[in-house]
Amino acid sequence: MNAFQLYRRYIGASMRAQMQYPGSFLMMAAGEFIVTLTEFVGVWALFRRFGQIRGWTFAEIAMFYGTVNVSFAIADAISRGFDVFGPQFVKTGNFDRILMRPRSTILQLLGYELRLTRIGRLTQGVIVLAIATHWLGIEWDARKVALLAAAIAGGVALFVGILILQATLAFWTVESLEIANILTYGGVEAAQYPLDVYARWFRDFLIFVVPIGCVAYFPIVRLLGHRASMSAPGWLLDAAPLSGIIFLLIALRVWRVGVSHYKSTGT
């Protein structure tokens, strides 16, 4: 069985398990939808008072907001195994079992669970994107579709990379640290607004250290054709989402270092 088939088996089992409680699933997905929607209501209220933020309109912000929420929803749904890695695998010693199996640790942890309730955030992001498209009168041609797809793919890679780093930390700390939320939920929060809203040091951090700006901001700026104050050449901005993939590759390297440091806590 190749890796892809095996992953499908894992995910099939995980989905059947979650569907054992359809009521609970629906309630949690709806809850997630509503909670993420409240954020958007907040943004709406501020725009109603202020009109615009540094030249950006509400409809444009909705594009940023929708894109980053779609990316994060997908990444968070597939990376559950890494999210709960500390308490579920290191603390309990269950990681020993994963190491025993003749398959990659990454594949097994990705297969741990596909969190279906994240469909709540995903739906909300897609709806926001659709509304924003309508408001802005965006005509989708191949280039724009490619830019959006690149933004989302880069975003998913970046957030998965962050969650892998969070899990890697658990090799040393045992517990999962809430501090990684700064980069996941905090990253989503930050990327909901265009980068030029932020102070210089913060902007640089979001471009060069944890490149959320590269995956969520530059592609959308290009897509909107906005006259944002960017001095970089166009091709560089188009290539920016690749940094999400690079971040993921680096995270995977760090993960391997972590695995080689693993000392079982099990009994």
Partner: protein, 274 residues
């Protein structure tokens, strides 16, 4: 007369237990600093983008943001996890055996849990937002002190009532947990209400003017909006006292209804487990 000692004891025990989770408090603190900075920067950009008259000025909005981070743990986010556990395992039946009023017993637990989580976080957040932020050269973004001594005194009164009000709301979530036999549904139901109606996501005065009387009157305003506006002098004198009276009124109403409803629920208790 109600014997107070058992309730005070459970409060003290719970408080001591919660203080143990120091690592969690530090990690939470880091997250909140970051969160606060993002919100402050967004407000800074908004205020620079518009000259229209706003319901509060930039310094006040910043203060509102930091207070929100400092007192985040005072919000009734969840059912008491141990009560949820008891409901799931069926051990909740033991609560019927105690010669105590279950409502006040659980209320004391909720209050202790909340205060123990909030006090260290608030102290750390005040030192960060009042001292560290200006030292780092971001003086515009610092948490201001209360507008006047009068505001400070009124704020202390208000935030005390916030604890009582928030505990009464937690009791409703606990109640929902007992009735539906699971904490998941009620926990996900309460969160959007808190986020929007307390002022946690956006300070309530920024919502459209026609909503303001409604927003001021509803119970969630007392969790965030009323005390914070008292703090920076947005609500003063009789209006501030009216706000506090509103909070006390909701606390009493929710407490009274919750007390009766919990007794009814416990009388018809379904016990799970074997």
């Amino acid at each position: 007369m109600i014997r107070l000692r058992p309730y005070l004891t459970v409060f003290r025990m719970r408080f001591a237990l919660m203080l143990q989770y120091r690592a969690a408090a530090v990690a939470g603190f880091g997250t909140q600093c970051w969160w606060g900075l993002i919100k402050v920067m967004v407000f800074a950009a908004f205020f620079r983008s518009s000259t229209a008259h706003q319901p509060m000025n930039f310094a006040q909005a910043v203060t509102y943001v930091w207070l929100g981070q400092a007192f985040l743990a005072l919000l009734p986010w969840l059912a008491d996890p141990e009560i949820a556990q008891m409901v799931a395992s069926g051990n909740v039946a033991y609560e019927r055996l105690r010669p105590l009023d279950t409502y006040f017993f659980w209320y004391a637990r909720a209050m202790a849990w909340m205060i123990a989580r909030a006090v260290p976080r608030a102290l750390m957040m005040f030192s960060f937002a009042c001292v560290v932020v200006p030292v780092l050269g971001m003086g515009e973004w610092r948490l201001r002190l209360p507008a006047t001594p009068e505001s400070a005194a009124l704020f202390l009164a208000a935030i005390t009532v916030t604890v009582l009000l928030s505990s009464a709301i937690v009791m409703f979530v606990n109640l929902g947990c007992v009735v539906t036999l699971s904490e998941r549904g009620v926990n996900s139901l309460i969160v959007p209400f808190i986020l929007i109606l307390s002022g946690n996501i956006v300070p309530l005065p920024f919502f459209p003017n026609w909503m303001q009387p409604l927003l001021f009157a509803q119970p969630f305003a007392g969790l965030v909006d009323i005390p914070y506006r008292i703090y920076f002098g947005g609500l003063t004198g009789w209006i501030a006292l009216g706000g506090i009276a509103q909070m006390i009124a909701w606390t009493v109403v929710l407490g009274f209804v919750g007390h009766r409803a919990l007794r009814a629920a416990m009388d018809r208790l379904q016990v799970q487990g074997g």
